[in-house]
Symmetry: C2
Subunit: 388 residues, 2 copies
């Protein structure tokens, strides 16, 4: 098998940091293109280039020393990545796949249109009048989204009625180096809960799905996952895994694909968002699965066979640490570690800022309620708040 | 709790490399004192000082930037480490404990003498005549060992009869910067198998034992461990764990202690060797235990509470990769990964040399024989040899 050995990662966040942990055990060399010298991954990776991932000269110079390029985030301009690929460099996932995680309009056209997969009703709206017409037709509230550049709740607005339709156009839309940013109107799905399925697809087209997770979001940010999703039939879980695998195959993803879904009151699901990289809703795999999402993403992009995606425990809950009791993650962890020796920590080396994702904790075991309670208690302690 | 945050690791081998993987998740800063710029850990650690761990100026300069000093190997001179400690630096394990892993004479005096723990018959022999007298008294064969500086079978000789007693004195003894090297005669224990117990002791004196492992050595090098040790009563396993905890407590170890033992035909055990650092016989804990030996060593030396040492699967076998099919670990792994998606790899970033420890593989599951067969098949494939 022809294996790439030097992996260039664009973006220096915690996803690159956790990929690095996995790369060490596989003996893959990592080069990091980081936005600043003190970002999460740049604090631990040996070979760091600091530069702008939207600058062609920077990215080309960086990529020249790598066997394959992959990503911590989706902000790399599609055209620039396509240029690298045209020049013979391996970019995985390739820009033709990645654009569906960068551009919600293209994603909806492909998934909801061509592939006929379950999506909310949606429409690109050129102005407030079109957005009002969309809302009047599908019913209020509606959700407005910037087609590009949004993340963690930024670039998403809930519009309660016709009076709100000016908001997305009055606020400055996210800036995207990747392409034009449009406003999309989407049906407001009154979901019972949110779900995620993580799929990994290898260079040879073989793909595996991790078990489906229930996810909890607050203010657009993931705060918790529980795996497997409680209270769902095996048939439904299998259908969601098949949906994830179908999307990965149709889009030609190489590496990780995270499919975020909303569950309707009748049990049906619609696709909410896609990401093509290790994903917050897959952090549980570090301690909860045979092969972590980070290792499997690397295996896929370098051309190695994938590792087992099986769960290692009946129940696994991951809880994000947002903000923190203090700037001292390891010190704060002392209390939690004393109370729960089985709790698994992962800290990202980030300075303290309210609401910032600075780490996560994972609990696993035989009882769903107990596992969830352990993760919540630990995260609340690390965040300096009373238990949720 | 007063937690140290910058850990200085003396020695750049694979143990430091695997400690680094664990340090990232705990958000501990690591500084590495490596013997050369291209050794195993120096290839991945961000903050590397290249220098000689026996040079006082080098070690003092290195230590000044660290909150606590710990070890990848035991070659740091006891006097130099004691000097650091006297100057107020935290050295863990401290030199007063560490010397028992460096000097087999002191170890035997303490364990076999003062503590009355089961050891082989032994004697320091000043010359060949004393060694012959020892052998004539205890019976041949005998084992001769250099008291300091030996590792992986170096500095250990099996002497079959009186004619061999000149060998240890004729061969050059290992060099040790730590202190004088004597020849020790030891009873040859005709063991049925070898065992290991890994204990971790925290800064507060609390200690935990991992389950007891059966180990297989070839040519003085560990090649395999299976955990828990098969075919042993719970009482005996508990007694061995208690023995490990007693030694850690008596010697005041902070961090990992590996106790290697030999099992006699009657089921009794004797202590063979001690190590005070993460140990080859504990590599299974990365995938097989809740908290790895590397994470627990770091937790101990920085003053964090210890993580659970419980096993995660009924059976776990680790097999070393010695030498290799080629210099390309990741590429060679493709075959193994395709055949066994549940197999866990760990490669050390070392160039190819016959017999060199270049990585290990771990299998776990419900059936001891199957788990062992999977690990053996994978290691044999990676080593380019027919299955053992």
């Amino acid at each position: 098998m022809n294996t790439a050995h030097t992996v260039g990662i664009i973006g220096g966040g915690q996803l690159a940091r956790m990929m690095y942990e996995a790369a060490i055990g596989l003996d893959l060399a990592v080069r990091l293109l980081a936005e600043a010298p003190d970002v999460s991954a740049a604090r631990v990776v040996r070979d760091v280039t600091v530069g702008d991932c939207a600058d062609p000269a920077t990215v080309k110079g960086f990529a020249a020393g790598c066997d394959v390029i992959t990503f911590d985030h989706e902000h790399g301009p599609t055209g620039l990545l396509a240029g690298l690929e045209a020049a013979g460099l391996a970019v995985r996932p390739g820009p033709a796949a990645l654009v569906h995680a960068q551009d919600k309009r293209l994603m909806r056209e492909r998934l909801g249109g061509e592939l006929g997969l379950p999506c909310p009703a949606w429409r690109v709206c050129a102005d407030a009048g079109e957005l009002r017409a969309f809302g009047d037709r599908t019913g209020w509230p509606v959700v407005a989204k910037a087609s590009r550049g949004g993340y963690d709740g930024h670039g998403v607005w809930r519009l309660d009625g016709p009076d709100d339709v000016g908001i997305p156009f009055a606020e400055s839309l996210p800036v995207s180096a990747g392409g034009p940013v449009a406003v999309i109107g989407e049906e407001f799905v009154d979901f019972t809960r949110e779900l995620s399925v993580i799929v990994v697809r290898g260079l040879d087209g073989r793909a595996l799905s991790y078990p489906v997770s229930e996810t909890v979001q607050a203010g657009g940010v993931c705060v918790e996952t529980t795996t497997p999703v409680p209270g769902m039939s095996e048939d439904r879980k299998n259908a969601i895994q098949a949906l994830g695998l179908r999307i990965a195959d149709a889009l030609g993803v190489v590496g990780l694909l995270a499919v975020e879904l909303m569950e309707r009151p009748d049990g049906g699901v619609v696709v909410n968002e896609l990401a093509m990289r290790p994903h917050n809703t897959g952090h549980w795999t570090i301690d909860g699965a045979v092969t972590s999402q980070f290792e499997n993403h690397l295996r896929a992009v370098v051309g190695l066979p994938l590792g087992s995606t099986a769960a290692r425990a009946p129940w696994c809950t991951m809880r994000n640490v947002l903000g923190g009791r203090s700037a001292d993650s390891a010190g704060d962890f002392a209390h939690v570690a004393a109370a729960d020796p089985g709790l698994r920590p992962q800290f990202y080396g980030k300075s303290l800022r309210p609401g910032r994702k600075r780490g996560h904790v994972t609990a696993y075991g035989d009882d769903c309620d107990q596992v969830r309670a352990r993760a919540r208690t630990a995260a609340a302690d690390l965040m300096g708040r009373p238990d949720v």
